[in-house]
Symmetry: C2
């Protein structure tokens, strides 16, 4: 948590952290500036308050962060730099490190062009021999250590995004189940095939209506595509009765704030036996993982128990065959916060040795994949390890595989209607 | 243009470019992979085809790029790296540079954490003494040189986003002018104040409906806020009659593709004399800039003539007073492409010495700002310098300041209706 940062800086022998990069979709910056987005630079010294440096043009936004804010004479630096963007950034960073009195070990974070960062930090290091600039040297940093556990406000922000996520999922289910079957195809009342693209468009619209963003996209894939975990689905693909569809969405607060990560797999109409059997195993793996989550166990041990479970039922895993594209082909989960993937990693590898701690928030997402058989299954929830050490799914949602089509009747009053509310208000407003 | 890249690599004595970072919202990667988003690494050697390295899990997406695609044994590298993300990335980059035979000067691009990039590239450089890794050393790089001029396909993609942008703007105008005045406030038919937040929500919704994203946000600001160029506007602010509102939107293709950049300033109902006078000067600056755009002139010279124009009418500029927050306080424009701000920079500084060339696409955005007087004005269009050397505003839209409220009558058949089309289709689908 953020209040541990000074201790972590001390422990890491760091005098300061330096945050660079844009205001939005830049987790280390947003961690300090909160929901106010200001393009600038930030220095947080051990024991001192964060100081935000920004352009005079952005002074109003900057003030709203509540941080100690200072103006940068960007034009003056740019003139001195003679239009060289590397030199410009070096001059600015030199100025802010000097003005804040930072010296010794300084860790750098924030989104930037990789080559530009390399040039700037090399040159800055040469220019300031008393400053030792550090990247992340071994995957651990005071900032990621602080961020790995979430305070109550952070948890509530994640839960809020989760509630919106689940609202969207419920509306998708309502939409899908209110269509009809024509042969094996899901079609609209007027007989047009319902496609992956139709559903994705509805999801994007609902996300916009609800003020969340999907900067990393979304996955809605059918059959064989669902069997390839990272395939995001083809817009033109029709949805068939009895063929698994997989929805994985990971929205975040507008402008790049906290994420939520969620997956369900469904069969419209009915589920074939093979799908039902795999789904049952995935659901049980999910249940067993939840039951095992507690402070002090390693993330790795829970990945291992999941491999045990799937292997004992005859499925290959990346442990039994590291190159398999069938069976259980990914890790069990990952931290969720200002990045959709952050520590801890539930991997059967060194980085999985992280011990779970109260305050962590992570996605638990077991799955089974058989692309050549047109099958992929995943069930994912975002889970908070509460202060009392118990895991809590932040927002509950049913895990049913089968989605029976609803008998025709008058349009429902809740489901998709809710999605239109802002437009109805807008129409009233006219 | 992309077909110049080999010559530019040769000219820059570069053996290869190495692209790192995520699949989406990562301009250098998207420049090569096109609209297909694959998390991976890309190497393009001088004279050779781009080679994309990706995870087996993403093999399906990767194949759709049409690029030479190779699988990475991520798990194997990760095991060797012992969970250290810096070492993991070093191993992968070492592998792909070796496999493609890259040696000598290699320029690195792509979005990454700054400190992580610094650590990785330092270590990689030590590991591969025959490779000289280069960041952007002086603001110029073969990749930005190639990207600075756009081919016909790129221009049409930008224009397509522009058409959507202007559709959204037209719908906003239709919405605003169909409200009514209550005293000095713009209110809905039911008497509720129309706020900045209402308008922003409608814009986000329309963007989602039309399949564009606004990863950098948007600006819709009123009065004093409009006088601070980077203030994005307060959701709760009401809209008043006769007070300037400024709308600046810069959407891009979904997932991070080409941008369009557009600004208009309006007064609802009527425009006070002071606003009209400033607006007239800004419009004339815009017209004069357009008239001066042609291949061979420097971007700087057009910024200078704009300063001349505003100064000759008694307004301070950043040239007459570098620290001014009043008058003309920013540069005239910037390139628009896969980044919303890219070269050329229309600045009165060394980087403005760029000569304009046919094929460039840039935003031209003169403005005047008097925050203490509650005023800010900007008019911005995205302009293509055509192969015949003539500038073309990619999508036309009126520049009127005054937006008279429309007399009450039956709802219009076009405006906001268009915004609802996808929903109506959806409703039909039920």
């Amino acid at each position: 948590m953020k209040d541990e940062l000074d201790d972590l800086l001390k422990k890491g022998d760091l005098d300061a952290v330096l945050i660079v990069g844009p205001a939005s979709h830049n987790a280390p910056m947003v961690y300090f500036t909160g929901p106010v987005h200001v393009d600038g630079f930030l220095v947080k010294r051990q024991g001192g308050p964060p100081v935000l440096f920004c352009l005079p043009m952005e002074r109003e936004e900057a003030a709203r962060t509540g941080l100690d804010t200072r103006m940068l004479d960007w034009g003056g630096f740019n003139q001195t730099a003679g239009g060289d963007p590397v030199e410009l950034e070096v001059l600015i960073l030199q100025h802010i490190l000097t003005e804040t009195g930072a010296s010794g070990n300084v860790a750098v974070f924030g989104r930037m062009d990789a080559g530009h960062a390399f040039s700037v930090l090399q040159k800055l290091g040469q220019r300031m021999p008393k400053v030792q600039l550090q990247g992340r040297s071994d995957g651990r940093s005071p900032l990621s250590e602080a961020r790995i556990t979430k305070g109550p406000t952070e948890v509530e922000r994640i839960r809020r995004v989760g509630k919106i996520t689940v609202e969207i999922v419920a509306a998708v289910v309502d939409f899908l189940t209110s269509q009809r079957a024509e042969g094996n195809r899901l079609v609209t009342r007027t007989g047009e095939p319902v496609t992956v693209g139709d559903v994705k468009r509805r999801i994007r619209l609902m996300a916009a209506e609800r003020g969340v963003e999907m900067p990393e996209g979304l996955i809605f894939s059918v059959g064989r595509d669902a069997g390839v975990p990272h395939s995001s689905g083809q817009d033109g693909d029709p949805i068939s009765i009895g063929v698994p569809v997989l929805l994985d969405i990971y929205p975040c607060e507008a402008g790049g704030g906290y994420f939520y990560d969620f997956t369900r797999t469904w069969c419209l109409g009915h589920a074939p036996d093979e799908a039902a059997e795999l789904h049952g195993l995935v659901l049980e793996a999910h249940r067993r993982a939840l039951a095992a989550l507690r402070p002090g166990v390693t993330a790795r041990s829970i990945q291992q128990q999941t491999c045990d479970w799937f292997e004992s039922h005859g499925h290959p895993t990346t442990r039994s065959d590291p190159k398999t594209l069938n069976g259980y082909v990914h890790s069990l989960g990952h931290g969720v916060g200002l990045d959709v993937h952050e520590p801890p990693a539930f991997r059967d590898a060194a980085e999985g040795e992280e011990e779970l701690r109260a305050g962590m928030v992570f996605a638990i997402e077991p799955g089974l994949y058989y692309p050549e058989r047109g099958l992929g299954m995943r069930i994912e929830d975002t889970v908070w390890l509460r202060p009392d050490g118990k895991p809590e799914i932040l927002v509950d949602y049913p895990t049913d595989l089968e989605l029976p089509l609803r008998p025709r009747r008058a349009p429902r009053k809740v489901g998709m209607r809710a999605a239109h509310r802002p437009l109805q208000q807008a129409q009233r407003a006219r």
